[in-house]
């Protein structure tokens, strides 16, 4: 609705020049040129018809007053008005139809291109753009841009109609015409004032409502605990306060918004009254006919509409263009991970070499400095160290999620940049710290790791873990729906599904960031079984948080600030009694059975 739109618009700093933005927009419009042409024609048609209607009626009235009314006159007049009405509807029908298709296709194109671009971006891109932002650009920004097109056509139509009418009015009686035109800036000024006030109160209102909503959310979520502690009355007081505030804020806003149209109506009405009187004077002095006078009176309203639309037009255009820019910024952003060649690996041995690698996420924070590492095929390597030591970076570089700045990384003695990325990643199994599941069944999620595998293979692998006991804990076994992001499963179950995805994929290289969440001891053992199955077949890099992992790894790397400070297996490093021993005592010891036995000291009964 013209006046009320865009009151809550946020600020966005435009980076693209207008020229560049328009060029990008035109690129997309070019694909719709035929439809846009038709829409353009219908717009002009509708504007002309809208202007013609009052003109025809006023001329007709003149004829009717001055002559004897013949049946043919009635027929003609009625016929023309009928014809105009039908054509107007037809033209609108066409306009809507073609606009709908144009906009829908435009949005589809933009959204698909934006999504494609996002998916192909590397992880550093996804680190700086929250997923919420990306989704919002793909869905709401594209929609906003579509609305801009609709708005523009509406404003265009109304403006053309007004211009045609203005010309006719001036040619009829220029003094009266001027009087009518004076109305426009006055109304415009008033509308802009209202918009200013409305925007202020909308912003304040939104802030207040955000607080209120947060309180309502909390008081509703907290009902269960309030009942637990018999504190219903206290929480009710809090709720009441928020409810009252919401009421007051909304009433204030409602008051301001209720004033707008009535005020404009009143002004238009008074203007009409003045026109009636002074127009009558013009008629009596012979300047205009009665029909022309009638024309003036009926067009006052027509000038009102464009004023309303145009007042919000400028803000709307800015919002629309900002939306367009955000989408193009997404599509046009550069990739930092570029592959040079296209080697398609068949079966990797899994030998990894990092030679003098330099890496930082952001220019000022160096993570890896002259870092070198050799991993034998089939080796299980555990990485330990305090936060920020650089453990995760190693896995990420090998997975080619990020671009490194110096040195080389070789896989099976081939430069990692020479591989075809998709094929390379198919040979890698990657499990992040918080396993991610798609909504769907467990089977579908496991299937993701091997799209060509069938259900029997999945079942076979599932049964390799403790005779499939873990399946019994699920309501529908493999067909259990996991919910959004796997919300219906426990952390342990999610881990198992993620590991099973890897098992079925049969990769040569396995990269795991171990979960730190608490998992029940039975599921823990099952996860261990799954992990052992994977480790026996792959070169593995594990960011270790579990005691069993460091114990069973072939080699442990102790890292600090991007460097390896100790190396060896669990027994060797424990005997050395230095950095590793310290880390062990801080992060792993409380997982040991030794610690469990010592807990007796806390038991006083």
């Amino acid at each position: 609705m013209g006046f009320f739109s865009g009151l809550a618009a946020e600020k966005y700093d435009r980076q693209y020049s207008d020229k560049r933005l328009l060029k990008r927009i035109l690129d997309y419009f070019k694909t719709q040129s035929k439809r846009l042409f038709i829409v353009g024609i219908t717009i002009v048609l509708i504007s002309v018809i809208e202007a013609a209607m009052p003109i025809v009626v006023s001329r007709g009235l003149d004829k009717v007053t001055q002559q004897i009314i013949s049946s043919s006159l009635i027929l003609t007049l009625t016929g023309i008005v009928l014809g105009l009405g039908i054509f107007s509807w037809l033209a609108n029908f066409l306009r809507r139809r073609y606009s709908a298709r144009t906009i829908a296709d435009l949005i589809r194109q933009l959204a698909t291109d934006a999504f494609q671009a996002s998916v192909h971006q590397d992880m550093s891109f996804h680190d700086s753009f929250s997923s919420g932002k990306i989704v919002s650009r793909i869905t709401s920004d594209t929609r906003e841009f579509g609305q801009l097109i609709t708005l523009s056509t509406d404003v265009l139509m109304q403006t053309i109609t007004s211009i045609i009418l203005s010309v006719v009015l001036i040619r009829t009686e220029w003094r009266m015409a001027l009087a009518v035109f004076l109305l426009v800036p006055l109304l415009f000024f008033l509308v802009m004032q209202y918009r200013h006030a409305a925007r202020e109160i909308t912003r304040d209102g939104m802030r207040a409502m955000a607080n209120v909503n947060a309180t309502i959310k909390e008081t509703v979520s907290g009902i269960a605990i309030a009942k637990n502690f018999r504190q219903e009355e206290a929480i009710y007081e809090e709720f009441q306060e928020a409810n009252q505030t919401s009421f007051k804020v909304n009433i204030k806003r409602g008051f301001i918004l209720s004033i707008v149209f009535p005020t404009l109506r009143a002004i238009a009405g008074i203007a009409t009254a003045l026109l009636v009187y002074f127009g009558a004077i013009s008629i009596l002095e012979g300047f205009v006919t009665a029909g022309a006078w009638y024309l003036f009176l009926t067009t006052v309203d027509r000038f009102l509409h464009p004023v309303m639309s145009v007042s919000s037009f400028f803000t709307q255009v800015q919002t629309g263009l900002s939306a367009a820019e955000r989408i193009f910024a997404l599509i046009d952003s550069e990739h930092s991970v570029e592959q040079k060649g296209a080697v398609y690996p068949k079966n990797l041995d899994g030998q990894i070499d990092m030679i003098s690698v330099e890496f930082s996420y952001t220019p000022d924070e160096k993570v890896l400095n002259n870092f070198s590492l050799h991993i034998d095929p089939g080796e299980t390597l555990a990485l330990v160290g305090h936060t920020g030591a650089g453990k995760t970076s190693i896995g990420r570089l090998i997975a080619r999620f990020y671009e490194f700045q110096g040195g080389k990384i070789l896989i099976d003695n081939e430069d990692i940049r020479n591989y075809d990325l998709i094929s390379l990643r198919r040979q890698m199994g990657i499990v992040p710290q918080v396993p991610f599941l798609f909504s769907g069944t467990i089977e579908e999620n496991i299937h993701y790791g091997c799209p060509i595998c069938d259900q029997d293979e999945i079942l076979k692998i599932a049964n390799q873990i403790g005779e499939g006991e873990w399946l019994e804990t699920l309501p529908n076994g493999l067909d259990t729906e996991v919910g959004e992001r796997g919300s219906q499963l426990s952390m342990g179950q999610k881990q198992l599904v993620a590991l099973m995805r890897v098992l079925i994929q049969k990769p040569s290289i396995f990269i795991l960031d171990e979960a730190t969440a608490s998992i029940d001891p039975f599921t823990e053992k099952q996860i261990q079984t799954a992990l052992d199955l994977i480790l026996s077949e792959t070169t593995s890099i594990l960011i270790a948080h579990r005691l069993s992992t460091v114990r069973s790894s072939d080699r442990i790397l102790v890292m600090r600030q991007g460097e390896i400070i100790e190396e060896g297996n669990h027994e060797q490093l424990t005997a050395q009694g230095e950095h590793y021993a310290e880390l062990y005592n801080t992060y792993f010891r409380h997982q040991s059975l030794e610690y469990v036995e010592e807990a007796k000291k806390y038991v006083k009964k």
Partner: protein
């Protein structure tokens, strides 16, 4: 208002302004609306007079035209007409404001009282209800649906009632010039209603389809971007893009369908034909000398008032139907029944802490039992560790003790008395359950700890925090105990939240403590704190701990191993190490 259930008993009641009829959405809305009667009068008056005064303009323009084209036109009379127009429109502005603001007040008042009614109702519902109901759904009712009811009145009813008046005016004004002139507006109203009803019937399923396909598109999109690491890691970029492409096409097709239906909006065509027909009819009567030119003008002008309802109809009617849908959902929620009774006459004594489960069977509905053959005997002061995989029924088991749920078969005894024979308040006052997801309010730490005992002194709060091993980390914050937590304050780790919950429990000193322990510590120092806090909390009271922690399991007096709703092993650590192979496995390295 009190929260009424079918048995007339609830867990909490609170007095508010007026009672409502909760039988059907319509009656319910009406019973709220009646209390706004002064504003309704104001709004209705505004609406009717608005339309009436709107018709003054064409009518008096018609009269002025007659005067101007008469033989001896009097400027004075025309001036009078102009004055009438001017004053009436100014007045109309005021009355239109009354209409708008009147409906706005009604809408906001009703939103306020409906939300209040819903909230009191929710507070009165049992713990059973709140354990089964998702908070997200409650939130949707309390915010979105209540808002829809608001919009139903303003702009919904505002525009509909306003526009209905505009439909009536030509019907009334026409005959004042000539009785036959009632024909065209009457025909319009009939055809308009028919075509509008038909239009909405076709449009509604299509808008649902558009909403659905958009929802589909959006949710899979969000998932793909959230899980982009997994997508890339599994080299599935192309299949995700293909999936998006298909969803986008589906959404586009649905949008175009909607656009096509909207483009055919017939009432608009009807309006054009009506204007022509009315004009023609009036001209014929003019030719036959029944009316004069001014009358034709006035009549034609009032016909154009029909434009307002035509444009408004789309939006306003759907708003009203959305409002009723929201009202229905809210009412459904409020009418969900409370099954547990308070048993005010029941047993009420200080609890010693003996708990017994005898042949207990439990499930949310009768065909799918979650727990079967549960037999446990717990002595006062014992620490019981409950272990098992997800879905083994651990949480449901403990919720039977404080009657969050009732058993279907068998019995649960506390101190030898069936929990159903206890006075509910007395039972619950002495049992404390600490959930997995600890809920803390956006208030100070001290306020949160004292939540169960509002008159606790700061000394008592600090003492409780010390026992819960929380004192140290609380002091590490700048404002100590006055630190505000939550969205507007600091965020706490899982272990810290757990210890605050324990402190909260220490203050209320329950005789039976149930702890759903699912936090994990990254480093041993934190682990030490958590262990100490839990062991301390278990002293001197019967404690049931649902836990993964081997230390808690190892040193508990009684260990209950559950699997698929049944107890597969129960006993001390030494006993279970002998008897159960899967238990042995847990303690192997």
């Amino acid at each position: 208002m009190t929260s009424q259930t079918s048995e007339g008993i609830s867990e909490f009641s609170f007095e508010t302004k007026y009672t409502t009829n909760q039988k059907t959405p319509l009656l319910w809305i009406l019973s709220h609306t009646i209390h706004q009667w002064p504003y309704i009068l104001m709004a209705l008056f505004g609406a009717m007079s608005n339309a009436t005064l709107a018709s003054i303009v064409p009518i008096f323009i018609g009269r002025a035209y007659n005067e101007i084209t008469s033989i001896n036109p009097s400027l004075a009379i025309i001036g009078q007409f102009a004055l009438v127009i001017g004053i009436s429109q100014a007045l109309r502005g005021v009355l239109q404001f009354c209409r708008n603001f009147g409906f706005e007040i009604i809408a906001q008042q009703i939103e306020r009282y409906v939300r209040q009614e819903l909230y009191v109702n929710l507070l009165g519902k049992s713990m059973t209800f709140h354990n089964l109901q998702s908070v997200g759904e409650l939130m949707a009712r309390a915010t979105n649906d209540v808002r829809e009811v608001n919009y139903m009145f303003s702009p919904g009813f505002n525009l509909v009632i306003g526009s209905l008046n505009f439909l009536l005016i030509p019907l009334i004004v026409g005959p004042t010039y000539h009785i036959a002139l009632i024909a065209t507006p009457a025909a319009f109203i009939i055809l308009y209603s028919l075509t509008l009803w038909h239009y909405l019937n076709i449009l509604n399923p299509i808008t649902s389809q558009v909403r659905e396909s958009f929802g589909n598109l959006n949710s899979r999109l969000a998932e793909a971007i959230d899980g982009i690491e997994v997508v890339k890691g599994n080299a599935q970029e192309d299949s995700e893009i293909e999936r998006f492409r298909e969803n986008a096409i589906e959404y586009r097709d649905a949008s175009i369908k909607q656009g096509d239906v909207e483009s055919r909006f017939l009432p608009l065509l009807l309006l054009g034909i009506t204007m022509a027909a009315g004009l023609g009819h009036a001209l014929i009567l003019l030719q036959q000398g029944f009316i004069n030119v001014g009358d034709v003008i006035a009549y034609f002008g009032t016909l154009s008032l029909l434009g307002f309802p035509t444009f408004v109809s789309l939006f306003a009617y759907s708003q009203i139907s959305l409002g009723f849908a929201g009202a229905r959902r809210i009412l459904e929620l409020m009418n969900t029944e409370n099954k547990l009774d308070q048993n005010i006459e029941g047993f009420a004594q200080p609890i010693l802490g003996a708990i017994e489960f005898n042949d207990v069977v439990f499930g949310y509905n009768s065909d799918e039992p979650i727990l079967k053959n549960i037999n446990i005997s717990i002595e006062p002061g014992q620490t019981v560790a409950i272990v098992g995989q997800t879905g083994s029924g651990k949480t449901s088991l403990v919720k039977l003790i404080n009657r969050t749920f009732d058993v279907q078969k068998g019995e649960v005894l506390v101190d030898g008395v069936d929990v159903r024979d206890w006075y509910l308040e007395s039972l619950r006052n002495q049992i404390s359950i600490i959930e997995q997801d600890v809920f803390l309010f956006s208030r100070s730490i001290a306020d949160n700890i004292a939540f169960g005992k509002q008159d606790a002194t700061r000394k008592e709060v600090i003492q409780a925090a010390k026992e819960a091993q929380a004192h140290e980390f609380i002091l590490s914050f700048e404002n100590g105990y006055d630190t505000v937590i939550g969205e507007r304050g600091v965020t706490l780790s899982g272990g810290q939240r757990q210890r605050l919950a324990l402190a909260r429990a220490f203050l209320t000193s329950p005789k039976i403590l149930v702890l759903d322990d699912s936090t994990s510590a990254i480093d041993s120092e934190t682990e030490d704190h958590i262990q100490q806090a839990i062991f301390r909390a278990a002293e001197g009271r019967t404690t049931l701990i649902i836990t993964h922690r081997l230390s808690q399991i190892r040193w508990a007096n009684l260990i209950v191993v559950m699997r698929q709703g049944e107890i597969v092993a129960v006993g001390s650590h030494e006993e279970l190490m002998q008897v159960s192979k899967s238990y042995q496995k847990i303690f192997s390295e």
